[in-house]
């Protein structure tokens, strides 16, 4: 497998400029002769579809929701980073680049990260031009706030709904191209497979979720922007529909999957309240600026603390982040804060139902600043918390617990964002490239828009320039399309025929898989646990294919069938994740192997694992092959992260 990252030569700060000049162009009159498929309509996919259509390409864009405006990018709260240095506080492209490489625990590709930092400034300009109502100062200039992992204020935001506002900007640009006839939009349509002809991406096979019809679409190139796979854990902060199917199907057709074990667990989410729970809700990281995190010092105080937290005097509280990381305290990075919460609960000191919760207490902040001040800062979050839990966080501390939030792993891409299948490009959370083993807050929105607005237009043009417009597109009547369509239909038929007799619901399997993954491949992983998971997952998968219950018919709007297909893919993908976690014998960022630590902190092994692990599919029931792309750090010096 060829893992040439095609990184341009030259000094890091000149690589992207050089690439932009060296990349081939498609003449404006010829662009209309090319067609491109974009799967996904979030920040990455929607931006790519709109931008490519603006340039003149013919775009077909697909989303499984009822309209492209609902993609999960919409749920991002905090903000978007950009190296504008509007605050005059010492920010620069180089600093954003540096912070991102370090925040990712030295497991990202330097050249990609530098380019991301470079285009970050253009993103803000573009969004403002589209009418995104970012927060502003009274003088009319843009406001900023700070986020974890940075010493500067470089985060642009629109109240607690930055993702929503950026996505609406993307959606409006997309809508304009739909009206102009340059984008054909396919709502409620799910991609179920990729078609390759002569080793190149030739198109996709989809299911119309309303009619149930299986159809093919062909194009000169295919872009996947289908988000992350956090729902492999069943409970996560992801939307209900977020899934791995598109990227996993691409993997099975030859695209390498990189670093699947890199998952981000966010420390401040509302804890699980019962087995009916369908998803978890994030409480913004910004709350840790004023809230203090604690559990009782003694396990015997747990019942009392759960009933009446105020009855526990300060000397009996363990403000464990302040104790363990005095210089960062409650604002320790996400991975560290999450693990510390788990430790406290494993120690029998967790509060609330089931003992899986810690307190995020605003008592001292309210005493210091007044309730009105705190309400002004966090009112919408406090309201959301009260709505979900029925508790008043002004009177009693919030109960929080870590939850799966983001996945840094994804399909392997080179500097052009092209996967190992020529002609298939992967953008946004669906690729692996920019965040290494841990993503910094407010960087996901940045990456999605960077890929979609500013990078793919150059690199895709270069690819298309090398393809003959007339002969380079295969029709959907090509035998390979028919073969893949038959595969997809066969799989749907199999689910329906087992489903008619099966006894166990799709959700029940999904929950069981989620339990395995959370216990064995969650916040702390061990060789023993991962080995157990690698036995338990195939057993569960086998049961799924014998006993899953899917009612209804194939050619109708059938939500059980949709879910069954997604869970079937999660049941295979989970194994790949565990395999990757098992073979990465080090701790880095979000990947914490209990065996590899030093005084309770993650211990990287740069001699053996300073590389990307890219997995190549080998066929049903065969172990995939682990390829390696070495990472070299020429600009940022490899160093151990310390937050003490």
């Amino acid at each position: 497998m060829n893992l040439d990252a095609r990184i341009p030569s030259g000094p890091i700060a000149e690589k992207w400029n050089r690439a932009k000049f060296e990349l081939k162009l498609v003449n404006p009159a010829n662009k209309r002769k090319y067609s491109v498929i974009v799967v996904g309509s979030g920040l990455a996919g929607g931006a790519a579809a709109a931008t490519l259509a603006e340039l003149g390409y013919n775009v077909a864009c697909f989303c499984f929701q009822d309209t492209p405006r609902r993609a999960h990018s919409i749920a991002a709260q905090g903000g978007i980073n950009a190296a504008k240095n509007y605050q005059n506080d010492g920010d620069s492209i180089h600093r954003l680049f540096y912070d991102t490489v370090k925040g990712g625990d030295f497991r990202a590709r330097e050249a990609n990260v530098h380019r991301l930092a470079e285009v970050s400034v253009d993103i803000i300009d573009q969004c403002v031009a589209q009418g995104v109502p970012f927060a502003r100062e009274y003088g009319g200039t843009l406001a900023n706030r700070s986020f974890g992992g940075a010493q500067v204020s470089r985060t642009f935001y629109a109240r607690g709904q930055t993702g929503q506002q950026l996505l609406i900007g993307v959606y409006q640009a997309l809508a304009r191209q739909i009206a102009a006839g340059k984008v054909t939009m396919f709502n409620r349509t799910e991609m179920l497979d990729v078609v390759t002809v002569d080793g190149r991406a030739a198109g996709i096979v989809v299911r119309d979720l309303v009619t149930g019809k299986i159809e093919s679409h062909s194009a000169h190139a295919v872009i996947l922007a289908t988000g992350g796979y956090g729902n492999v854990f069943y409970l996560s902060t992801n939307a209900m529909g977020s899934n791995v199917t598109a990227t996993y199907r691409a993997y099975k057709r030859g695209a390498a999957f990189a670093n699947p074990c890199y998952t981000q667990i966010h420390p401040t989410c509302i804890p699980v309240s019962g087995d009916y729970q369908s998803k978890l809700t994030l409480m913004s990281e910004s709350l840790r600026n004023d809230g203090r995190i604690w559990v009782p010092k003694k396990a015997e105080d747990v019942a009392k603390a759960s009933k009446d937290p105020a009855s526990i005097p300060d000397e009996d509280r363990d403000y464990y982040l302040e104790r363990k990381y005095p210089s960062y305290g409650n604002l320790s990075p996400r991975d560290i804060a999450s693990r510390a919460a788990k430790e406290a609960c494993d120690d029998g000191r967790g509060v609330g139902p089931g003992g899986r919760g810690v307190y995020l207490d605003f008592r001292d902040a309210i005493k210091r600043d007044s309730q009105a001040k705190i309400a002004e800062k966090y009112g919408n979050l406090f309201d959301m918390y009260a709505r979900i839990t029925g508790e008043n966080p002004y009177r009693q501390p919030m109960r929080i617990y870590p939850a799966v939030h983001y996945t840094m792993g994804g399909l392997w891409v080179d500097y052009h964002l092209q996967s190992t299948i020529p002609g298939m490009f992967v953008l946004g959370e669906a690729n692996f490239s920019d965040h290494g083993a841990n993503r910094l807050g407010a960087s996901a929105l940045m990456q999605g828009l960077a890929d979609g607005y500013f990078i793919i237009s150059y690199t895709l043009g270069h690819y298309l320039a090398g393809i003959n417009a007339a002969t380079g597109k295969v029709g959907t009547d090509h035998p390979e399309f028919k073969r893949v369509e038959a595969d997809v239909k066969g799989r749907v038929d199999k689910l329906m025929s087992i489903g008619a007799k099966g006894k166990r619901t799709v959700d029940s399997f999904h929950k069981a898989l989620g339990n395995i993954m959370w216990e064995k491949c969650g916040m702390a992983r061990t060789k023993e646990g991962l080995t157990e998971a690698l036995k338990a997952i195939p057993a569960l998968r086998e049961e799924f294919w014998q006993d899953v219950k899917v009612l209804g018919e194939r050619e109708t709007f059938n939500q059980s069938l949709e879910k069954a297909g997604r869970v079937a893919d999660f049941l295979e993908f989970a194994e790949l994740m565990c395999q990757d976690a098992l073979e990465r014998e080090e701790s880095c960022g979000g990947h914490f192997r209990t065996e590899y630590q030093e005084a309770g902190e993650a211990k990287r092994d740069d001699d053996r694992f300073c590389h990307v692990a890219a997995w190549e599919y080998q066929g049903e029931d065969k172990k995939p092959v682990r390829h390696v792309e070495p990472l070299t750090f020429e600009t940022v010096k490899l160093a151990t992260r310390s937050y003490k």
Binding site: Q130, P133, R136, R387, L551, S560
Partner: protein
């Protein structure tokens, strides 16, 4: 903190062209901490165990921002709580033994897809008609080049907070989409970037709204009461003003955009 047993009357409709009817179900053991949609998840598990097809309903983010969830609950879009989407409505709002009526968002322009799911593509058509700023990638000036007073940016945000769920249409006796359309018009009308296309935009959007089959506004303001994001009816007045202006001024608006608001 006791679990609830409920009687649900739910609209079932196999597909858009089929006839639908209310069906009654009993659901047991619902926690007061569950959300309304999680209660329906529990019902669906129970139905499937009995060999009955689950109730189809839309949802995605389940945190009140994507706008995918809908439902008319006991006659009110998104249920009894003000400023709350169905996915954020929790069962502690109900009590053991309650009867709950659950129906889709009903409007001629929102055809039923199945059971409680409707097709809201008409909203996409309204936005595509002009609900954007024409600003190709690459052409933007520096983001701070045009200062925008904070109050103005805040007002634009208030309008832009619309999640496109369609509750306003479902609540309106005329199935009017005036609040939805006005929110987009007002979002962009409050920003300097939105000025060049302001009148052309309002004219095209209102025309598309009419063409999609939405009704007119007759000042009931049920839309504002049902809106989970608190979008103000005042934007409708702004839209009407701009529309009136556009009829006289925007001679170059797109062909066929002479519909009445």
């Amino acid at each position: 903190m006791s679990d609830m047993n409920l009687t649900l009357h739910i609209w079932r409709q196999a597909k858009g062209t089929a006839a639908g009817a209310m069906k009654t179900y009993q659901v047991k053991g619902i926690s007061e901490h569950a959300s309304f949609l999680e209660m329906l998840d529990v019902l669906n598990e129970q139905l499937q165990e009995k060999g009955e097809e689950p109730v189809a309903f839309d949802s995605d983010c389940r945190e009140g921002i994507c706008g995918m969830c809908s439902l008319v609950i006991n006659g009110r879009p998104h249920g009894p709580d003000a400023g709350t989407t169905t996915c954020q409505l929790h069962m502690r709002r109900f009590k053991n033994g309650d009867e709950i009526y659950v129906e889709p968002f009903r409007a001629g322009a929102f055809p039923v897809v199945r059971d409680l799911c409707v097709d809201r593509k008409a909203f996409d058509d309204i936005v595509a008609a002009g609900g954007y700023v024409t600003a190709n990638v690459g052409s933007a000036p520096d983001a701070n080049a045009v200062p925008i007073p904070k109050e103005q940016a805040d007002r634009a945000f208030d309008a832009a907070a619309c999640i496109g769920c369609g509750a306003c249409v479902a609540a309106c006796p005329n199935s009017s989409a005036m609040l939805f359309t006005a929110a987009k018009v007002a979002h962009l009308a409050h920003l300097p970037q939105g000025q060049p296309e302001r009148l052309r935009r309002v004219k095209a959007m209102v025309t598309a709204m009419d063409a999609a089959g939405f009704g007119n506004c007759s000042n009931h303001y049920e839309c504002e009461a049902a809106c989970p994001k608190g979008i103000s009816k005042d934007y409708i007045a702004l839209m009407n003003r701009d529309y009136a202006k556009s009829v006289f001024v925007a001679k170059d608006a797109k062909a066929g955009s002479d519909g009445a608001g």
